[in-house]
Amino acid sequence: MSAAVESLRETYGEELRMLGERYKELVVLDADLSTSTKTATFGREFPGRFFNMGIAEQSMVTTAAGLALSGKKVFVSTFAVFLMRTYEQMRQSVCYNNLDVNFVVTHAGLTVGEDGATHQIVEDVGIMSGLPHMKVTVPVDSIETRSVIDFLAEGGKGPNYVRLTREKFPVLNGKDYVFRQGISTTFKDGDDITIIGAGSMVALALHAAENLKTKGIDARVINMSSIKPIDRKAIVKAARETGKIVTVEEHSIYNGLGSRVSEVTAEEYPVPVWRLGMKDTFGKSGKSWELFEYFHMGVEDIVKLAETCFRGVKNENFS
């Protein structure tokens, strides 16, 4: 596959700048990482509506709550890992008040790469999904990122968490794609097994599906970018039609995509769901692609897991 790669965070910054033109009530807050999160792109254009709160995330989040209570469309950005220190501010001041605050974080997951374990958060989707009112989205590419940000600026309700990355990702969606909360996209049809992925792992899953094809296994590949609310229909349909599911995510296998998918199948259509992701561990410094291999999350690992799952062999993912 030779898809173009594009930066999700640069797309975010550009889109914010464009939306700032359209929505005078749009304000953006950052905590001394705006050149990395790319909110600086907005800040340069609209300095009066851009607030660099310093290295003070708690202040940033509570201030965001006050702005939202006063009718502003609020976007809050920092690295995913640092936003987590404000879990309680998010819970009490934003989610309990059910405010329209959009947390768009970057540098999530393993693909922070060289910065290492301190910065590679792989727990955030779980932490955020547990918050009442909070919705969680993991865009797969630049096109979806743009569409998600447009959606939130135009009519997003309540608190939202959008997980972006440092690395550029292959463009997988068509230009006309429009994001809808709670709706997944089937990137490849197949009847033998379904691979449900989010974020960076979807492109790897598509590679894996090509390899599986040579082994006579026709895998369906679904981009589950909306993790909360989740597309229950697509999950149940996949369970019914393919009988087996593998989930792949740049996140802990606990409390992330794999857990959410398992909840749905357990309740509505029990089938084996095998999860691929970080196994209750911290990350490491290294290149992104090296890390995927190191943590057994590469294309070959997906192929192996899907194949054993398909053939009904014991899941040795956990021994």
Partner: protein, 291 residues
């Protein structure tokens, strides 16, 4: 003095109607409601509500531009009760001010009532849900910034507890308020020297709060939080600040007005323990009525 709900008094009009002795009676009425609410709920935080009753009376019945008949007026003054456990005090003040019928106070801390244990936005007149300490100042900062973006002239009041300022979030927000020159932000610190586990000097010494806040670029006004002339003139002075946020450092007595609760850490978070204590509290407060 007619303080019934929905009595039609509104906005600016009501503010000039109350003399200091009226305000004192309102504060006593707030205190009595606080006692009734926590006793009926068999739980709650009387101490820190009693300490700010005088301040609440001045704010809601004299200094703040609020209208119970138009609670979402975009030009209204805002108050964030950052010390959200002072819910009985705030709920009582809002009810007496006419935001909702007094009978609803009986639902405090009970199922199927909007009067949550800690301050809840679902209650008419409440601007933000609070209860986890240290967050209300940041909310006030956001509101004060929004006020400036919208070129409005309302003021944002934030009531802080003294134990609460042990939270780092407060000092982060102090910096932000100073950076953005939020002269429309007026924080009032209820300096009653007591927090849940005991006296602040023992739990976590706070140092010279006035100097600390001043060094963060704030205007600081130190007062006796039970002296009406001082409360009123401090608020008026804060309103005149040109480019700095203001902190009114109000020295108060925790449990003020109820003899056995005054300066007693036990009543930070405990209601009258018996019918006898309950009667005694109301008797003590009735004594204040006669002034």
């Amino acid at each position: 003095m007619n303080l019934r709900a929905g009595d039609g008094n509104s906005g600016e009009k009501i503010m000039e109607q109350y003399s200091v002795s009226d305000l004192k009676n309102i504060a006593t009425a707030i205190r009595k409601k606080v006692i009734e609410m926590v006793y009926s709920a068999r739980s709650g935080h009387p101490g820190g509500s009693l300490s700010i009753a005088d301040i609440l009376a001045v704010l809601y019945f004299r200094e703040m531009n609020v209208d119970p008949l138009n609670p979402n007026d975009p030009d209204r003054d805002r108050l964030v009760m950052s010390k959200g456990h002072a819910s009985p005090g705030l709920y009582a003040a809002l009810s007496l001010r006419g935001f909702f019928p007094e009978i609803l106070l009986e639902g405090f801390r009970k199922l199927n009532s909007k009067l949550e244990g800690h301050v809840h936005k679902g209650v008419p007149g409440v601007e933000a849900s609070t209860g986890s300490l240290g967050q209300g100042l940041g909310i006030g900062v956001g509101m004060a910034i929004a006020c400036k973006l919208d070129t409005k002239s309302y003021r944002v009041f934030v009531i802080l507890g003294d134990g609460e300022i042990e939270e780092g979030n407060i000092w982060e927000s102090m910096m932000a308020a100073s950076k953005y020159k939020l002269n429309n932000l007026i924080a009032i610190l209820d300096r009653n020297n007591i927090q849940l586990d005991g006296f602040t000097k023992d739990v976590m010494p706070l140092g010279d709060i006035g100097e600390m806040v001043r060094s963060f670029g704030w205007n600081v006004i130190e007062i006796d939080g039970h002296d009406y002339d001082q409360i009123i003139s401090a608020v008026e002075e804060a309103k005149l600040s040109r480019d700095k946020p203001s902190l009114i450092l109000a020295h108060t007595i925790k449990g003020k007005g109820v003899s056995y609760m005054e300066n007693n850490p036990k009543y930070h978070g405990a209601p009258p323990a018996s019918e006898e204590e309950y009667r005694k509290a109301l008797d003590d407060l009735s004594g204040e009525d006669e002034e």
